[in-house]
Symmetry: C2
Subunit: 311 residues, 2 copies
C-alpha cells in the first residue's frame, strides 16, 4: 500500500468527535474519506452515510475503518468491515462479550486483514516509562483507584448502563488495559463486589481483588459517582519504592520524585501511529486480557442492587 | 511411556467417587496409585495424602492426575501438578474464571505436558451421532431446557453457591459443552436473565439467548428447583426436521424416530480413553468455549435478586 491509508470512521459519538477525528486530521498516514453514523452528525465536507452497507455500495475507496460505535453493535459492524477486506480498529472495549471479540480475532486472521483491538490508555504518556522501569523491579502490590463523575464524563451515554455497556467498568477497563500491559505476569480475579443500580444492567461502583501467578495482590476500586477531585491513579509498590501513575496514565512519578517528560503526542495520535504500523506490516494486535478480567469479575463477583441512577 | 499410566485423583467429592474411581478401575490404560483429599475420604488400599505437596514428596511415581476438587481451588492444584511435569485432567468447569483456565493452558503448553479440560457430557452416547447427523443439515434454531432439583443432585455442595461455583450454570455448562461441540459456528450471548438468591453468589435459575455468526438463535432455560420430571434436553430444528437429545445427551432421536444404539461404554470410560490417547500422543485438549459463554452470560446478563435458598 502506498500513499495515505483511506479511512472511514464508523460511529460519531463523543469519543469519535473528541479524539478520533482530531487525531486522524493530524496524521500523515491516514486520509479520512467517509463517516458513517445513524444519527446524522457528520464532519464538514466529508462524505457521510447512515449505514456501513451504504458506504460499501458507494464508489469511495476504503482501506480501513475505525469502529467508534457503542460496544453493543461493534461485532456486527466489524464483521461486515472485515468481510469486505477492510482493516479494522476497534475502540475499547473491543466488543460487548468475549465471544464476540474472539470471533472477530479469528475472522481477521482468516481474512488476513489487520485487526487492532485498541486500548487508548496504553498510549498515555506515562505508561511506556512505567513499563520500562518496572521490568527490573520486584513487584509487591498494586492499588488502583478509578473514581469519576459519570454525569460529567459520560453525559447522555445511556448505552453504558445497558447490557454489554459495562457501567463503571467502561472507564475501569482503561486501568486494566494499563496494568495488563506493564505487569509481568497474568492476573486472576479472586473476588469482586459489584453495586448495580436497580434501574440499570451494569455496576455503578465496585471493587475487584486480583492476584498474579506469583501471588502478588492487585486491588481495584471503581466509583462512578465521585464528586470533587477525580482519581485515575495506579500505585505499584516495589522493592525499590512506589511507582505512581496519575491522570489515567498521563503522568508517572518514580520513587525518587522524578517525573520524566512526555515521550509522545498524546494517546490518540500514538494509537493511530500504531494502527498505521500494523497495517503497513500486515499484522494484528488483539490482546483481550482487559476484557477477560472484566468478564471474570462479573462471573466471580457478588452483584448487589443499589439505588436507582437518574442522570 | 510404556505400561499403565500412573494416576492420582485429587479431590474425592461426589463426582470422583461416583464416576472417576469406577472409570479408572475399569480402564486398562490407567493405574490408580494415590488419592489426595483434605477431608480424609479415601479408596481402600490406595495410598492417600491430604495435600498435593505430600504426594509429591512421597516415593510414589506419578505420571498424571485428575483434578476433581471444587472449581475454586482447581487452578492452584493444577498449576502445582503441571509444574511437576504431571499430565492434568480437569473436571468441568476447568477453573473458576477464564483467566485461570487460560493460564493453565499456557502453562501446559510451555511445560509440554498434556492438559485435558474435560467436558464429560461431550462423551454422552448420543452426542457423536447427533454431531455426525447435523454436519449435513441447515440448522434453524436450538432450544435447551436444563431443569433439575439441586437438592437431589448436589446435596451438601455449598461451593456451588459461592463465587466461582456458577450455581445453576454448573449443570448448565454441560449443555453448553454439547452444543459448542455439535453446532458448526461459534455462539454469541445476546442477552441473559439471571436469578440470584439473596443469600447466594450464583444464580438458581436463568435464561440465556445466543445467536451464531449466521444469525441462528439458541435459547437456553435453566432451573435448579425443578420438581417432578427432570429435563436435560436439547432440540435442534433443521431443514430435515428436529433432532432431539435427552437425558443430558445420553439419548438422541432423529426426525424419523430412529434412535441409534449407544456406541460407547458411558461418559467417564470414554473420557478416560480420550485422556489416555492425549497423553500417548503428547497433545492437549483445552476448549474453553463453554466457560466463555457462561462468563459472557454473567457479563451481559441482568442479575436479579430472588428469595434465599435454604437446602
Amino acid at each position: 500500500m502506498s500513499g495515505a491509508i483511506r479511512l472511514a470512521v464508523i460511529g460519531l459519538g463523543k469519543i469519535a468527535r473528541d479524539q478520533h477525528l482530531p487525531a486522524i486530521a493530524s496524521s500523515d498516514a491516514f486520509e479520512l474519506v467517509a463517516t458513517v453514523s445513524r444519527d446524522g452528525a457528520r464532519s464538514d465536507g466529508i462524505p457521510h452515510f447512515e449505514e456501513v452497507g451504504d458506504l460499501a455500495e458507494s464508489n469511495i475507496g476504503v482501506d480501513a475503518v475505525s469502529v467508534c460505535t457503542p460496544p453493543q453493535v461493534r461485532r456486527a459492524v466489524a464483521q461486515a468491515a472485515l468481510a469486505r477486506g477492510w482493516h479494522v480498529l476497534l475502540e475499547k472495549p473491543p466488543a460487548a462479550t468475549l465471544g464476540e471479540a474472539e470471533a472477530l480475532r479469528d475472522l481477521a486472521c482468516a481474512r488476513e486483514t489487520t485487526l487492532f483491538a485498541s486500548w487508548h490508555s496504553r498510549h498515555a504518556a506515562g505508561v511506556a516509562p512505567a513499563r520500562a522501569w518496572l521490568a527490573d523491579r520486584e513487584i509487591r502490590s498494586v492499588r488502583i483507584a478509578w473514581r469519576e463523575d459519570v454525569r460529567v464524563w459520560h453525559p447522555g451515554q445511556a448505552w453504558i448502563w445497558q447490557p454489554g455497556g459495562f457501567g463503571v467498568f467502561d472507564p475501569g477497563i482503561n486501568a486494566l488495559s494499563i496494568i495488563t500491559h506493564i505487569l509481568p505476569r497474568p492476573l486472576f480475579v479472586t473476588a469482586a463486589d459489584l453495586e448495580v443500580p436497580e434501574n440499570c444492567a451494569a455496576p455503578i461502583a465496585g471493587t475487584v481483588s486480583m492476584c498474579d501467578s506469583a501471588g502478588v495482590n492487585v486491588a481495584m476500586e471503581l466509583d462512578f459517582l465521585q464528586q470533587g477531585p477525580q482519581s485515575w491513579d495506579i500505585a505499584i509498590e516495589t522493592d525499590a519504592g512506589t511507582l505512581r501513575l496519575a491522570k489515567g496514565g498521563a503522568e508517572v512519578s518514580f520513587p525518587d520524585g522524578r517525573q520524566p517528560p512526555a515521550e509522545n503526542d498524546g494517546e490518540y495520535p500514538a494509537l493511530y501511529a500504531h494502527y498505521a504500523e500494523l497495517i503497513r506490516a500486515g499484522e494484528s494486535d488483539v490482546d483481550l486480557a482487559p476484557l477477560r478480567i472484566v468478564a471474570d469479575a462479573f462471573l466471580k463477583g457478588r452483584h448487589r442492587q443499589v439505588a436507582a441512577f437518574i442522570e
